[in-house]
């Protein structure tokens, strides 16, 4: 049952082959059985899930089912869930029970999904390996010595090990796509503004975007249908029509123009990963696409600019965690300054503190122009590169990650080398574009993802392009043996 796609489960629920209660119990049992090897969940909401499942079954019996009614999923622990601990994988919020639901959570609940629990992640979504979590690292189901990627590492590992048919994630610099790539699942980062950020704990507000993490593009389309849409509570969400993302999945790819940026295939790319990506691109040629060599000459600016903009915003976004109103408060503060210093010093982990320091520095008087303003200019250049490219091509393809992952602890002591693992994903966030990572092959027993980047609000085409590939290949259907 668990190696079925969300789409297949939806059909099974619809024709009565299985109830949501049975399905939910099955996944809860899988979590209980397998998650000790992965640590992909921070909180499992067992009772609530069963209650929701029974309600979903009643809903269906009353003839009011949507395609998602009764489907169990997991939420990254960055989304506020009313009455349920919402920790952002930080000691700072270890005691935080959210008093409200994020829009993403509320919309999916309204569509009838059942929440299995909250998945592990890098602390405040800062990391590419899931090693910065207060609750410990997540292991990659394909090889538990390896990281699952991050920051949505728990969601990626849970879906890859089929502990949940699908999960939500968030992507600030690659946090959906990179773990999707490393865990062999499909991960979509929608256009900035497509999905509401209300109730999604902010890391870098101008970059953060929620998206689905699933087995297939078709599943992603089903989830995105429920997640997307304008939200008056998020001023940066875009008031633009939301299409049915499943409608065009099967459109033929004849004449599709695929841009291949030379900067995505440079010497930093692992040879085996490069070969997998080239093979996937060759598959697209067979499907009728044409290849266009393009340039994104400012790609090299994306990491340095990102590591100014994101920490700058984070340094401000994380100021509210001061021990005054909620979250961690140090024991026996002597005075206000002591309360601030120790609550924040003890409540935040090293990577979070590192980024707060970087961001604070970048915004300081005398440095603002040299760092923050300059980074914003670089961001404009990066966006202009993409705008120019999309004059010539329909989608851009390349690797999601420069390698097929790394071992736990391998890069923990070297933040910069960790930061470089997001080289192909970050520019997409800097430009606000949609991007998807789909499984495209293996390297030394670990999955490799193909990244497809689309124009603004062109998620339907990304999903179509991804889906057609998944009709021809079965990389997305592979399941790590230990979790079969």
């Amino acid at each position: 049952m668990h190696n079925q796609t969300l789409k297949a489960l939806s059909e099974a629920l619809a024709n009565g082959q299985v109830s949501s209660e049975e399905l939910t119990r099955h996944y809860l049992e899988r979590i209980a059985q397998h998650d000790p090897q992965l640590n992909s969940f921070i909180t499992v909401t067992q009772e609530q899930a069963m209650t929701q499942a029974r309600a979903a079954d009643q809903h269906r019996a009353a003839g009011k089912a949507t395609p998602l009614t009764g489907i169990p999923i997991a939420h990254k622990d960055i989304f506020c869930t009313q009455g349920v601990k919402t920790s952002c994988a930080s000691r700072m919020l270890d005691n935080f029970i959210a008093p409200y639901d994020a829009t993403v959570v509320a919309q999916l609940a309204a569509a009838g999904v059942v929440t299995l629990g909250k998945t592990n992640m890098d602390e405040f979504a800062m990391g590419s390996s899931n090693e910065t979590s207060f609750y410990g690292p997540v292991n990659n189901p394909w090889d538990t010595d390896y990281v699952p990627g991050g920051s949505s590492g728990g969601s990626a590992a849970a879906v890859a090990a089929r502990l949940a048919p699908a999960a939500t994630g968030t992507d600030t610099g690659g946090s959906i796509r990179q773990p999707a790539s490393l865990c062999g699942i499909t991960g979509l980062k929608p256009t900035y503004g497509r999905v509401s950020r209300w109730g999604m704990i902010a890391f870098a507000s101008s970059l953060d975007q929620a998206g689905p993490m699933t087995q297939t593009a078709e599943d992603a389309a089903l989830l995105l249908n429920a997640m997307a849409g304008f939200d008056h509570r998020d001023s940066t969400s875009t008031d633009i029509e939301v299409p049915d993302f499943t409608a065009d999945l099967n459109r033929p790819l004849d004449g599709l123009r695929i841009g291949l940026p030379k900067e995505f295939f440079d010497q930093g790319l692992d040879a085996e990963v490069g070969a997998v990506v080239q093979a996937a691109i060759a598959q697209y040629e067979k499907l009728g696409a044409t290849l266009v060599d393009i340039e994104l000459p400012n790609t090299h600016l994306s990491i340095p600019a990102y590591y100014v903009v994101a920490p700058a915003e984070a340094s401000s976004n994380l100021s509210r965690y001061d021990g005054v109103r909620f979250g961690y408060r140090c024991a026996d503060p002597m005075d206000l300054e002591d309360l601030y210093k120790r609550s924040r010093g003890e409540g935040f982990g090293d990577e979070v503190k590192r980024r707060i320091l970087i961001g604070t520095y970048a915004l300081s008087a005398g440095y603002y122009d040299a760092y923050y303003l300059k980074a914003q200019k670089a961001r404009r250049l990066i966006k202009n590169d993409f705008d120019a490219a999309f004059q010539q091509v329909d989608v851009i393809m390349g690797p999601t990650s420069p390698n097929a992952g790394f071992k736990l602890g391998e890069k923990a002591a070297d933040p910069v080398s960790m930061y470089l693992s997001d080289i192909y994903t970050i520019s997409v966030n800097m430009a606000g574009l949609p991007g998807i990572s789909i499984p495209a092959g293996m390297s030394q027993g670990r999955p490799v993802g193909l990244q497809i980047i689309g124009n603004y609000f062109d998620e339907a085409r990304l999903l179509n392009v991804a889906h057609r590939y998944q009709q021809e290949t079965d990389w997305h259907a592979q399941l790590p043996a230990a979790f079969a």
């Binding site: 989304f79 506020c80 919402t86 952002c88 919020l93 935080f96 959210a98 008093p99 409200y100 994020a102 950020r197 209300w198 109730g199 999604m200 704990i201 902010a202 870098a204 507000s205 101008s206 008056h232 509570r233 998020d234 001023s235 940066t236 700058a312 915003e313 340094s315 401000s316 994380l318 100021s319 509210r320 001061d322 005054v324 109103r325 909620f326 206000l336 601030y340 604070t360 915004l363 300081s364 008087a365 603002y368 923050y372």
Partner: protein
């Protein structure tokens, strides 16, 4: 050495919107602590601000009121600092691109002349909460009801040269915001607060001296006192050869002294940057035109009209137009009474304002309404009563309410205009004052004018004030020969 004082003001005005600037919480003053604080006001994880269009409209009104350019695009920025009553650890404000650009305001000085004060900018921002230090057993309480209340910060040019000018400017701002109906400007509730930047320079010097900023002054009186105390302190320092260090200071009204809170070196680096949660604020020309069309008559226009149409003096016009409620009151009195505007102006600015001042009341709390006063002045205008009786009735209205006509009727205060009745009283007065009559008749014209006052007074007294004074004068003049 003789010093020139240079003053600039930053005035914070709480905009009278129903809900907060970035959340739907109510802004009512005086509610139980933290009952008007939503998730957004509490700075909960994951919440986002949404701009209140009403606050924007009020800022535009102000901008048009000072003839400033309304920025077609302005940007909200985060001002980062830690304080317990600042829930997010930053205040959303406007920094590089404010909504209101350069404008100006005329102020009236004590000698009746006017002066134009430049206004550098005005920008929208959210207020912080309040820290409560009493009654918490050595701890502090936080009340976030005020957090997120919309403020307009109005920054003047350093155009004022005395504490009195600063007060006149603050009063002009106060008057304008009440005219525009964007704030009640109630300083006692903190709905208007002034930061006063004060520096001194040698007379004739063109460079500015180092300024110190007096924070959060909360009454017009204290604006004057605080600035004067600060001037005195700076003058002492400079004349003793010490340099002024840039600093933020507070004014202690009890000691009548300013004292430093923090120096420039201890100042926060606010790390302003554009708030990524809010898009740039775009204001179209159509919006500006729509707001412009909704503007009421402003003080300057009203002063002009009071002089041109109502033939008031410049002084009277300024006094009456200074406050929108007062001006409306005055115009109602004119309309209801049908009396000469000059008479109405005198009554409103002398009798009414005098009584209000004595009782420490604002015009909106006047026990005598404009309709009541108009009804009273109507009876002066039609000669039913004399001015003297009118004052008596005014007091009655003030203390017990009712209408002038009722009081005139019930107390029999109607003016005596029957010639024969007045003649009878006059005859009695003349008969009982032979010495004064002899004196009068022996006197020349010039002296007679003085001496007749005695007879008028006696006649009025005998008539219990009801005799028409003009008729009394005429009859006396005739009878005394």
């Amino acid at each position: 050495m003789s010093w020139e004082v240079v003053i600039g003001l930053e005035v914070h005005v709480q905009l009278a919107t129903r809900s907060k600037i970035f959340s739907g919480s109510a802004t009512t003053f005086g509610a139980e602590p933290n009952t008007q604080a939503s998730l957004i006001d509490l700075g909960m994880p994951g919440v986002l601000p949404v701009l209140n269009a009403g606050a924007v409209e009020k800022a535009i009104k102000f901008g048009l009121g000072i003839e400033a350019e309304i920025a077609p695009r302005s940007v909200f920025a985060r001002k980062n600092y830690f304080y317990p009553d600042l829930p997010k650890g930053y205040q959303i404000s406007q920094f590089e691109l404010p909504i209101v650009g350069m404008g100006h305001l005329e102020i009236t000085l004590e000698d009746g002349s006017s002066k134009r004060i430049g206004i550098t900018r005005a920008h929208l921002e959210e207020d912080a909460g309040k820290s409560l230090h009493e009654d918490y057993h050595g701890m502090s309480g936080i009340d976030l009801n005020r957090a997120g209340t919309p403020l307009l910060e109005i920054v003047s040019e350093p155009d004022m040269r005395s504490a009195k000018e600063a007060v006149a400017y603050a009063k002009a701002i106060h008057s304008l915001i009440r005219y525009l109906d964007i704030s009640d400007g109630d300083m006692s509730k903190g709905n208007m607060r002034c930061d006063c930047n004060v520096s001194l320079r040698p007379q004739g010097e063109t460079e500015f001296g180092t300024r110190r900023e007096i924070k959060n002054v909360n009454s017009f009186r204290n604006v004057e006192k605080a600035i004067n105390a600060e001037i005195e302190w700076q003058m002492d320092e400079l004349e003793s050869g010490r340099a002024i260090e840039q600093a933020t200071v507070l004014y202690d009204p009890v000691k009548d002294k300013t004292f430093a809170m923090r120096t420039k070196e201890e100042a926060n680096d606010y790390r302003y940057f554009p708030d990524p949660d809010l898009l740039p604020l775009e204001v179209t020309e159509q919006t500006v035109d729509r707001v412009r069309a909704s503007l009421p008559e402003l003080p300057a226009q009203k002063i002009e009209r009071f002089q041109a149409e109502l033939e008031l003096s410049d002084y009277d016009a300024r006094v009456l137009a200074a406050d929108r409620v007062l001006a409306d009151y005055f115009e109602t009195v004119v309309a209801v009474s049908g009396a000469k505007p000059k008479l109405c102006a005198n009554w409103v600015s002398v009798e009414l304002l005098g009584a209000l001042n004595k009782n420490d009341l604002e015009i909106d709390a006047s026990p005598v309404t404009a309709e009541q006063l108009g009804g009273l002045l109507k009876r002066i205008a039609d000669n039913t009563i004399s001015g003297k009786i009118a004052k008596q009735i005014f007091e009655e209205l003030w203390n017990h309410g009712g209408s002038a006509d009722q009081i005139i009727e019930s107390q029999g205060l109607k003016q005596e205009t029957d010639t024969s009745a007045i003649e009878a009283i006059v005859d009695e007065v003349i008969a009982s004052s032979p010495d004064q009559v002899a004196q009068y008749q022996a006197a020349d014209d010039k002296k007679r004018k003085k001496l007749i006052g005695y007879f008028v007074g006696q006649t009025m007294k005998a008539s219990k004030g009801k005799a028409n004074p003009q008729m009394v004068n005429e009859i006396l003049a005739k009878k005394l020969g």
